[in-house]
């Protein structure tokens, strides 16, 4: 059994949800990101931008443990990922809410049933989460479509449903890969504000998008991917963040 590293646990207790140090990753022999130094803290919202095919999706895959790092060190929720067992990785994944670029649903189920899936997987009883679920559906603005099968939802509604599903289990870390794709600018900004609201309950949020203007609609730490490297961009001071809010 892998013994947890006390430094990683200490970092997690101080609010560092994910810390990547000198991490390389890619698909098979192809390296996409090199030497990544990246950090997400509880209550922080990070916007990762970059041109198409820069590696934004790869970064979210890395953070959600779908891709293993090929070099460097990655600690998520106080666990060194490279040394973690399959069970430990599964436990971490359950604490991550993930909004995919093209979210997959059980199409013949209702949006509400899909949103409730993380709760069903946690073996919670419907009577225990029904009220929370309705509140969540209202919060994301999906009340009118919640009982429709996912196959009948519009593209924007599917994305909102994916966000609701990612939030349902009250995750510590939320990863959203291009959550505003295919939406009007107003709708996209509403979605980002909605995700950014999760910082208030102590979650860390990472949003990957090509749209750099999204950084203006909430207090967000910006990162940019260029040439396979993730670089911090103008991280605002706390008072500036308050003003943005």
């Amino acid at each position: 059994m892998t013994r947890p590293n006390s430094t990683d646990i200490d970092l997690f207790e101080r609010g560092v949800l994910a810390r990547l140090t000198g991490v390389d990753c890619g698909y098979g022999p192809t390296t996409i990101l090199t030497g990544i130094d990246f950090e997400v803290r509880a209550g922080e919202v990070a916007l990762v931008t970059g041109p198409a095919a820069a590696g934004k999706t790869t970064l979210t895959h890395l953070l959600r443990l779908a891709l293993p790092p090929t070099a460097g060190r990655m600690a998520i929720m106080g666990v060194d990922v490279a040394r973690a067992s399959a069970r430990a990785r599964a436990n971490i994944k359950r604490r991550i809410g993930y909004v995919a670029e093209n979210p997959v649903f059980v199409e013949q189920w209702s949006a509400l049933d899909n949103i409730a899936m993380p709760l069903k997987m946690a073996k919670r009883k419907p009577r225990d989460y029904d009220d929370d679920l309705r509140e969540l559906v209202d919060f994301v603005g999906l009340s009118d479509a919640a009982h429709l099968t996912v196959a009948k939802l519009s593209g924007a509604e599917r994305r909102v449903a994916a966000i609701a599903r990612a939030l349902a289990s009250k995750p510590d870390l939320i990863l959203a890969d291009d959550p505003t794709a295919g939406m009007s600018p107003d709708e996209g900004r509403r979605i980002v504000r909605l995700l950014a609201e999760m910082r208030r309950v102590g979650a860390g949020v990472v949003i990957a998008s090509q749209d750099e203007s999204l950084g203006d609609c909430a207090p967000i730490l910006r990162w940019r991917i260029e040439c396979g490297r993730v670089l911090p961009v103008d991280h605002p001071a706390p008072e500036e963040a308050e003003a943005l809010e």
């Binding site: 990753c25 890619g26 698909y27 098979g28 895959h61 959600r64 779908a66 891709l67 293993p68 399959a86 069970r87 599964a90 436990n91 971490i92 994944k93 359950r94 604490r95 991550i96 993930y98 995919a100 997959v104 649903f105 059980v106 199409e107 899909n114 899936m117 993380p118 997987m121 599903r165 289990s169």
Partner: protein, 286 residues
Amino acid sequence: MKNALTGVERALFWTLAFAAFAAAAAGLSARAVDRIAAGYEEARRNYAIIRVIAPEGPEGLSAAEAALADAPHVTSAAPMTAGRAAALLSQWGGASMDAAEIPPLRLIEIELAPAGEQIDVSGDIVAALAQGGVTAEVVEAPDHASGGGLAARVRVAAFWGALVFGGAMAVIVWLAARSLAARRRELVTVMTDLGATGGQAAGGIADEAAVLGLYAGLIGGALAGLAGLGVMLLAIPGANLDTLPAMILPIDLAPIIAAPLGAAVAAGAGARAAASYFHRQAARLG
């Protein structure tokens, strides 16, 4: 009906039911062949012919009959008549025989009580006849070494044939159940994204397939049982619903009981294997 099966699930259900029916029917057929072969072998082993050597003439036959009445192992004895001999020769020789053409016979047909392998039945009968003043030989059915093991070979062939056929049906069920997992692929993908382990993602689908296999196997097994009863009523002279229960041994029901269990296990295993594969694909991209 709210929980009625639809589309792929319904087709899968009837595929599984048909496979279970075929496997159970093959098993029941093997049991029937086994019972017939065992009955044939028992009748063959419990039959022998006494050839009276001395004294000659009708006195010899009478003395032999008297001696056989008290001989060990013998349950009945009857001299072979010319008519009986003609009938046997016609049966085995092919050409029709006239009883008038048969010369006087010094043969006695006897039926024997079952005896252990170590007991010299022929020796005991010859000794009893000798005590009655009769010299005779016992002609028994040929043993295995003399080519008399056909029934045993038939029983073995029926057993293994049914087992192999049942295995083939299990493979069909296993493959068919993978279609259920394929239909649930998006569920596996979603569960994997939400942090489900392979066991969690595949377990639910395997359970669903196993339950489907269990119900399909129950229906297939029951249909095979009904078909078996029908065949028995038609094929066995004098059989009716009152006499059938006494004819059926508990072991004869094994294929009917095995059908739902086998279908459930094979369907569950097939769905689990496919769902685990989909989970592995969804879990790792690099």
